[in-house]
Every structure is written in C-alpha cells, then in structure tokens.
C-alpha cells in the first residue's frame, strides 16, 4: 500500500449541483411518464376486447379534466424525452461514413427530426381522412 490519500469528491445531491446533471435526471424521469402512458393505452386495448360498454367507459374516462391535464404533462415529458434522445443518438449509433468522411453528429440528429416530422404528418393525414 502506498501512503497516498487521493481526494474523493463528495457526491451528496450530486445531480442538483450542475444544470447538465439536472437535465440528465429529468430525461431519465420522463421515461416513467412514457411507461405510465403505455399502461393507459394497454387499458384501452383491454377494454376494447371486453366490449362496447367497457370501451366507451375508457373513452369517457379520458375526457376527465384530470386525465386531460395528465395527458398534457405526458406530452411535454414525451417531447422532452424525444428531443434529448435524438440529441444523444449519435453517441449510441456506430459511426456512419460518406466516402472517407464521418457523418457529423448534427446531421444524424437532424435526419431523425425529418423522419419524425414525416411520420407524424403521415399519421395526422391518415387520421384526418
């Protein structure tokens, strides 16, 4: 054993000490909202299977002001989740090359926004018709 006593930084409430860490913790927390929303959709699917009455009951429960407020909250969380995920996605995908040059991270993120926009637009058009 050497006589060194290296500095060990204190980690109490570490994520409150830096806005970057706070954004990270919020990003991780938004996944809970996405999970809860998935359960709401599952409940809808289960009520659809049970019959018309159950389905209408589920639809009526969504018109509750609390449900609407919750949905707005989930929407905000999901949007934040999407934005932050698109931002880190170049870090989790293998490097892409065009010729001998690496595709810049911003282009990868940008293309995802375009794909998302096209997908949502298509969904809206289908729902509209």
């Amino acid at each position: 054993m050497s006589g060194r006593s290296p500095y060990v930084r204190p980690m109490t409430n570490w994520w409150l000490k830096n806005p970057f860490y706070i954004r990270y913790m919020v990003r991780e927390a938004t996944s809970l909202f996405v999970a809860v929303y998935a359960f709401i959709l599952l409940a809808g699917l289960a009520s659809l299977e049970k019959g018309e009455e159950a389905w209408n009951g589920w639809l009526a429960s969504l018109t509750n002001p609390v449900a609407i407020l919750f949905h707005l909250l989930v929407l905000a969380a999901a949007l934040y989740h999407t934005v932050t995920w698109f931002k880190v996605s170049p870090k989790v995908s293998p490097s892409l090359f065009i010729g001998n040059h690496r595709v810049p991270d911003k282009l990868i993120t940008g293309v995802q926004y375009i794909i998302a926009a096209v997908a949502y637009l298509t969904l809206f058009i289908i729902a509209w018709i």
């Binding site: 060990v8 930084r9 980690m11 570490w14 994520w15 830096n18 970057f20 860490y21 990270y24 991780e28 880190v88 170049p90 870090k91 989790v92 293998p94 490097s95 090359f97 010729g99 001998n100 040059h101 690496r102």
Partner: protein, 140 residues
Amino acid sequence: MSHGHLRQLRHDAERPTKLDEGEYLQTPKQKAQYDQLSACINCMLCYAACPQYGLNTEFTGPGVLALLHRYNADFRDGAKERRMEIVNTETGVWGCTLVGYCSEVCPKEVDPAKAVNLNKLSSTMDYFLRFVSPKKGARQ
C-alpha cells in the same frame, strides 16, 4: 483502479501480423475510425465529470474505455478479445448510464460517451455470440 487499467492498456497493443510481412497500409476511412479517440491527452476531466465514477470508483470510467476503443477500432491491432474482458465486467461499460457529460467537458473532442456506448453494443454481441460460437465459450 482506472490508473491500473490505463497502465495495462499501454502495454496491450498487439500486432496481428508478423513484422517481416511489412508495414500496414491504412486508408483514410480506416484512420477515421479511431482518429478522434487518439486525441486523448489523459487530462482526466471526463472522470471529474462522470457521476457514475464519482459514486463508484471501481467503474473503469470514460477515459480508459475511450482509449480501449481507440485500439479496438484500429485494424492494425489484434488484442480486442483481451480488452473485451475489461469491457464486459460489471465495472466495464455497463456502469455507464449515458449522462454524456464526459463528452461535453472533453477539451479534445474525443467523445468518450460514444466510445463507451459503442462498446455496450460490442459487449452485447459478445454475450450472444457465445451461444453460436463455441470457440469463444471455451476460451480461458
């Protein structure tokens, strides 16, 4: 912990071919695979930025994992399998939760977070390939 790993990696590079087979010719694309990673100056800012390392100093950490990937991504080296032993352990890449602050503070734009997360993919492949490649399973 991480200093030990750093020292270990220093002597880790392994030439897959014999010396008398001549020098390696490397295309710009092959060089670009690891170029960014080789810019590391061992300043350890990524360690100061990493909350996972702060919470558990047993975690190999961003700097060493980026250096490790620098060699893994270079085709002139043949010691990837040995390095994957560091990657695959609990204190390897799986200690990372993609906070991403290491890449933010890096003065040389090495992007250690990318190197670590690419190795999560390699580690997963390693795990599943054991079942189809008996050679890997038998290795001591």
